[in-house]
Symmetry: C2
Subunit: 207 residues, 2 copies
Amino acid sequence: MGKGDLTRAAILERAMDVASRCGLGGLTIGTLAEELDLSKSGLFAHFKSKEALQIQLLEYVAGQFIERVVRPATQEARGIPRVRAIFERWARWSKWKSMPGGCLFVAAATELDDRPGPVRDRLVELQRDWLGAIARAAAIAVEEHQFEPDLDPAQFAHEVYGIMLAFHHARRLLRDPKAQERADAAFEALIERAARVERTRQRRRVG
Amino acid sequence: MGKGDLTRAAILERAMDVASRCGLGGLTIGTLAEELDLSKSGLFAHFKSKEALQIQLLEYVAGQFIERVVRPATQEARGIPRVRAIFERWARWSKWKSMPGGCLFVAAATELDDRPGPVRDRLVELQRDWLGAIARAAAIAVEEHQFEPDLDPAQFAHEVYGIMLAFHHARRLLRDPKAQERADAAFEALIERAARVERTRQRRRVG
DNA sequence: GCAAAACACGAACGATCGTGCTATTTTATG
DNA sequence: CATAAAATAGCACGATCGTTCGTGTTTTGC
């Protein structure tokens, strides 16, 4: 149906902007309504509670993430290209203009890690799914004999996540202009290690 | 002088506990006073503002960090042992019982990355100092010919930080029981890469 | 074009926030 | 032990929080 869903989408869009900067807790109904030229109660009516707003925001952002990162990466060729696409799209995602405060999930992760409740539960599910997706891409690269056969895909996913977290930290807190190249270097080293390129490197040294 | 500084220390101790769980913003004067059986105004009088409380809390926690991580690591032998000590003490630190919500700096990092002000400024200084200390330990390992001569110490520090962030994420948000061993594995791989052990590994393969 | 449903607004609520004032109690000092 | 100083309590303030309710205004379906 019509108008309601339209403003609801506008609210979530704006909420994503605000929450990326102030966190899910700092996202307040009053200021959000003000930014959208809505009344507090009018906005509130769209969600029965703030908790529901937070959860629906998570769903909305997760949808955007799938659209902008997961799906395009999945369409890439199996193996290392797909793994690379995941990393590149992910980095681009966390610099997306609609999230001026950086990846919302990163912010929510540390914010909610000690706040039990449905919001946290949903976030954990989403993060597990995403880590699982990365691990799957890594496992495929193993199948394709592009990664070492004894590579642990979950460990690989974990380390990629660490690289992204460090990227976020360097870029958003420290304002380090080298953040991107630091992340790239770390990722390249991880790929090199996953694919056993020691012999390749040795060849390079000899040649 | 006497009593004042005593309660001030008790306040900061408790504030560290609370802030590690709820963040620097979630740290509220009312609840903090209640937990300590103090009046709100009585507690408030110790710090002229909430911002000052946050900054002084940062200083306090930084002091604890130096005492429990930096100093003991510095007393370790130059080179890889010291680098290892940094990592191990750091991991132990973030599991410290006085910070039930995990490392306060990790929580504050994502919380303050878009909140300009003196609190953020101080946090950035502290983080830069710490990254610098890690880089220095890595540089010493290079001097000692335990790490490759062309290793970038700042890049090394950045990646160690990423490992710790991923550790925090896995442990505190995902409640992953393998968090520690994941972090250990990532760190070992990083050390292996920094020290050029390809030939050693090759030897192992041959032998 | 009308009835019905959906949507938005305004005002108000209890709670809690940080922050001032003013006493009152507690501590340190001669 | 008295007294000045420091530490804490009590109270109130304006602001803002999430939430509820009643009423008005669009939008929609027939």
